[in-house]
Amino acid sequence: MKSNNRIKLDWKQLVGFNQTQQGKDSVKKAKAVLAAKIGGKPVEAKD
């Protein structure tokens, strides 16, 4: 449910969301960087 009273968050007070410069602009953009690191060995879609 959407709220009419926005809670404002300062990125400097968040953990992990400021991992990138993008996090300073928008925590949502930082989500891309928070995505999992997947691998361990080469992985690929096999055609």
Binding site: M1, K2, S3, N5, R6, I7, K8, L9, D10, Q13, L14, V15, G16, F17, N18, Q19, T20, Q21, Q22, G23, S26, V27, K28, K29, K31, A32, V33, L34, A35, A36, K37, I38, G39, G40, K41, P42, V43, E44, A45, K46, D47
Partner: protein, 308 residues
């Protein structure tokens, strides 16, 4: 990290006072517990989702997520090996699976492993930790200090589907997910543990500031993936490859490996050196490193140069 998480949650509760529906006494009890004892790695996923819900003005959703967060149990200091449940039926398993699927460019499914697979993988982890205790006790200590959970999953049986060997996420800090169907033996598992725990180490380093400043849409060739990746991923892959090289070298030099293990280790050492070289060339050429990112990668690079 737990202390930082507690501080950030206190800030969020203060900012949302009067709007977030989270019982204050229960929240404070949780924060004190969080500062004193290990907590489930799921805490970071609930935290991250709560922040995103607040940013989306979904206060009801954020309140629900924060209530789930403060209900998480504490953990022992031991590293637990836990088979993934069925993401279609088990909400905890669904949360682990969803965190791994946050990257829309790499859609893949994760499944619960069979009992036989779990048994085999547990044995590989046990043997790998025994090798580390004997041949690289510093790394063994680091792995146990960083990892609260090793989640065992299984990949898709579809030969055309994307699969995985291992995965880590800031949103599951303190946990790694490994494909229990891998058959790379104890030497392979030592590298897997070194690799995935190193991702967690980098997540910890970068909790408050970035390592690279390249934008996520700048893509480069990765030493560990066939698909082009953002520099953040290249940076991680390069750093963890140095860690894989280091553990193999330590085990070889310690004299704890038998002939068969030594043969595999020597091959892996060469391959890890090749992959690191590929990655570090891309990093030095294209990465916009922060001072922290430069310092961390310089340490790995200096080690690899000295070891060559």
């Amino acid at each position: 990290m737990r202390s930082r998480l507690a501080d950030s949650l206190r800030y969020i509760f203060a900012q949302g006072d009067g709007q977030l529906d989270v019982p204050k006494a229960r929240a404070e009890e949780f924060l004190l517990r969080l500062e004193q004892q290990p907590i489930s790695p799921l805490a970071f996923s609930f935290y991250g989702d709560s922040v995103l819900a607040i940013e989306d003005d979904d206060i009801e959703g954020a309140s629900r997520l924060l209530n789930e967060l403060i209900a998480l149990p504490s953990q022992t200091g031991e590293t637990q090996v836990i088979p993934l449940g069925d993401p279609k039926r088990d909400p905890v398993a669904e949360r682990y699976a969803r965190v791994l699927n946050e990257d829309p460019s790499v859609p893949f499914e994760i499944f619960p492993p069979s009992a036989d697979t779990v048994s085999s993988c547990r044995a590989q982890i046990r043997d790998a930790l025994a090798l580390l205790d004997a041949g690289d006790p510093a790394l063994a200590g680091e792995v146990r200090a960083l990892l609260r959970q090793i989640i065992l999953g299984a990949g898709s049986k579809d030969p055309k589907a994307m699969t995985f060997d291992g995965a880590s996420s800031f949103m599951l800090w303190g946990a790694i997910i490994i494909n229990a169907e891998r058959r790379d033996g104890a030497i392979g598992m030592t590298q897997m543990l070194a690799h995935e725990s190193a991702h967690n180490l980098l997540f910890g380093f970068s909790a408050d500031e970035s390592l690279v400043e390249n934008t996520p849409d700048e893509l480069f060739s990765s030493p560990l993936r066939k698909d082009p990746r953002p520099m953040d991923g290249i940076y991680h892959a390069t750093f963890v490859t140095a860690r894989m090289y280091r553990v193999v070298r330590q085990l070889l030099e310690s004299g704890v490996l038998d002939a068969a293990a030594k043969e595999k280790a020597e091959k892996d050492l060469v391959e890890n050196a090749r992959l690191f070289k590929q990655g570090i060339e891309t990093v030095w050429k294209h990465a916009k490193l922060t001072p922290l990112g430069e310092s961390v990668m310089r340490g790995a690079s200096d080690y690899m140069v000295a070891a060559a």
